[in-house]
Amino acid sequence: MNAAISTTDRHAYASGFAQALEQDTGLPAWLTSVRRTAFDDFLDQGWPTTKQEDWRFTDVTPITRLTMVPPPTGKPHFTPDHFTADLLGLGGEDSRRLLFVDGRYHSGAAKGRSRPDGVLATPISGALAEDTGTLGHVLGHHLRSQNAFVALNTAFLSDGAFIRIPAGFTSDSPIYLVFLASAEGSASFPRTVVWAGENSQATIVEIHLGADRRATLSNAVTEILLEPGARITHHGIQKASPDASHIGHLAVTQKAGSVYTGSSLALAGRLIRNDVHASLAEENCTCNLNGLYLASDTNHIDNHTTIDHRAPRSTSREVYKGVVEDRGRAIFSGRIVVRPAAQQTDARQTNRNIVLSDGAVVHSKPHLEIFANDVKCSHGATTGRLNAEALFYLRSRGIGEKEANQLLIRAFMLEGLDCVAEGVLRAQLERVLVKRIEELHGAPA
């Protein structure tokens, strides 16, 4: 059962909500009504509690204490730390990039909003104001779950990114979406909507960052619709500040013959929760889900995924890997559903964890729900220490203990990138990952 929201909190949230509605001028009336319904839905549901199976290991109490007051308007002030600056610069000057600060489009950083190729990469606020009608086709239509956080995101929906890839368009140059949470004590609710036309191909990198040592909540929802034959590669990177929380909900809907390849790099944050729901709605789809996580200090990283095979002859591959240390916590819950109609499904799932210290905890819960009889499905989960023999081998060649550890952690994590990206993007993701590993384990000689 969810925790009922107290009358005091109810008033506080309602006044925050009213304030947000007042601030967000220029939005269409239909959206305001959708938002009101969602807010009521949130109040009815209340916050999830650890008594619910899906939230057994993740206590959201710290988040509930945050006020829902939107961040102050006007240009935000932040000084990106070393790491943030590096991530902000991903993709270089020429790439298509949208920057959002505290949930709002930061107009200064966008390049190439509209290009002759017909690809639309625009802030939702702009798309709503222009009301071209295409955003409404996807927005909110493919969410399979309406948990409290999804409802909350919809209730506060005012901005985010809308990407539309025209049918037949293919591009190898990624689109970067950067969301920075910066105002102390604030909550932001970015929405990303991707609509990939028939036989189109594109790569999207969605980066969520926290400004140094700020306590923030980013509650993000991403909806991706793949029309028949579309191929979308989607990389999520999260590096929240040590005091910040990130709750992400990703809903993917795949039509016939489409290929979705998603990766998630969860690098840091006080509380990170990623829900992924991939619906393979039509036949011959391919869905590759990959996750990498590093939970150090007292970081809590929770990945909940569902891959729903609803039609025949689809393939899914899911690999989640992580390293947990200090008093970090990692949760993996991977659910694969094969519906009666989904004959000849081929689904494989793997979760591998390395635990580096006694205080670190991993909960791994793979589960298959199979209702068809002609399928190939497998799952496996392992949790262990670094290979002692490999460590000995490295140390016997003169490599110090710390560096040998670092070398093996790096190898374990980087292996996870091999099947998700190649070329320049692979190198970029590797750099981000290695940088974080070196932050935690020191740079090699």
Binding site: Y393, L394, G398, I399, E403, R410, A411
Partner: protein, 166 residues
């Protein structure tokens, strides 16, 4: 020992630089290191593709042996124990491996070679030969001892000790 995900060269450079650091020497950068290791691999007859592959992953028995010798020639240890380095090597490989070890001989380096056959010692001429039997050194001599041993067998060497003891 296979170490997935750790490239051979990456590992070797980390090891070499750890050693150089310890000795108070300057560390090698990736370019200089690669040039050096490629040259050494060539003299060993090691396929350069193996340098980029993860340590020992999918290596044949002979490739693993050559890789060990490559590590030795890069890391330049003061003491090396080569345990049956000749097993599983064909004649050409044996000559190359022996040649690489031979090149590492130096006044301040000790190399202990363990073998069951004289053949390796044709290419890698020992300064001193010890015969082990039943866990202890039963007799010692110069290179001629190994040749005699090949002719007469281990039984002869063990008998020789008993004679000496008697």
């Amino acid at each position: 020992m296979e170490i997935p995900g750790v490239a051979n060269t990456y590992f070797l450079r980390a090891a070499l630089n750890a050693i150089r650091k310890h000795r108070g020497e300057e560390e090698l950068d990736a370019m200089d290191f690669l040039a050096m290791v490629k040259k050494k691999a060539k003299t060993l007859g090691l396929n350069p593709d193996l340098l980029g592959r993860p340590v020992n992953e999918g290596f044949s028995g002979g490739e693993k042996k050559r890789n060990e010798i490559l590590q030795m020639s890069v890391l330049e240890p003061r003491l090396a124990v080569l345990d049956e380095t000749d097993s599983g090597l064909d004649i050409d490989a044996l000559r190359e491996v022996a040649g690489a070890v031979q090149a590492l001989r130096a006044p301040d380096r000790a190399i202990v070679v363990i073998t069951h056959h004289q053949r390796l010692l044709d290419y890698l001429v020992p300064d001193r030969v010890h015969v082990l039997s039943g866990g202890s050194i039963v007799t010692s001599g110069d290179r001629t001892l190994a040749i005699e041993l090949e002719k007469n067998g281990y039984g002869w060497a063990a008998g020789r000790t008993q004679e000496q003891v008697a």
